[in-house]
Symmetry: C2
Subunit: 114 residues, 2 copies
DNA sequence: TTGGTATATAAGCCTGTGGCTATATACCGC
DNA sequence: GCGGTATATAGCCACAGGCTTATATACCAA
């Protein structure tokens, strides 16, 4: 559905915490549930589904347990998405071509966040 | 407020499109509005506010125009957040061969799980 | 000042989604 | 089979946030 994209999957703080937890090592759903007392079991289960659909974790069945493992391909994609902007930025900094009537991008102090 | 974090700022497709548009070069709010016919002027303005608060764009005042510029510091932070997971993954995959403290993660598509 | 332009904010509606409780499904040991 | 355990799903409620229209603010020119 809508949540199957990695951007919205990562946008949720609880899901990021779960990713943090999984970064150390794979865990069963139950371990995740008990590691986050503020979340209920169904809540964790739904978050895990979103992470699964976003390709951020994979799951292996072990008896009646589900072992969740961090799966970095999705993050790599994300990484590349960001790198696109950063590279672009670098290009601009190192290759100052003609500057039109437009204001030049002065990366120094033109920050004026409201 | 709540939207001032970079994760939710990037989670919205319209805002990502605006970032794409700004990646080429800085633009005035009006240029952004007319480049996205599916968005209304107030809608664009609110998206720009979110991007501003997330530190993803900066704005300079030019007469009655606001020039928006991509501001990659926020993306760098994001990049680092992701790199944390990728490094962890690489460490696990390549065993304890060498331990480079390099923060750069090279592209390398592979999967081990499942 | 007035008028025109550029952008931001307000107020209301409405969908998406997170959290909850309860229930269903799947697996194991006995 | 039954009971216990592990996890997923369903149904409901509440809230965040996106969209829209209307209005406000800020600046410039005459």
């Amino acid at each position: 559905m809508t949540s199957s994209n990695i951007f919205s999957a990562i946008a949720d703080p609880s899901r990021r915490e779960i990713l943090d937890f999984l970064a150390a090592k794979p865990r069963s759903a139950g371990e995740i549930v008990s590691h986050f007392p503020q979340l209920t079991q169904p809540g964790v289960s739904r978050h895990l589904r979103v992470l699964r659909e976003a390709q951020l974790v994979s799951v292996t069945v072990q008896a009646q347990q589900r072992i969740y493992t961090l799966r970095p391909e999705g993050l790599l994609m994300f990484h590349d998405w960001i790198a696109k902007y950063l590279e672009n930025w670098m290009d601009k900094l190192e290759a100052p071509k003609e500057s039109p009537q437009e204001a030049k991008v002065t990366r120094r102090g033109t920050v004026k966040t409201k």
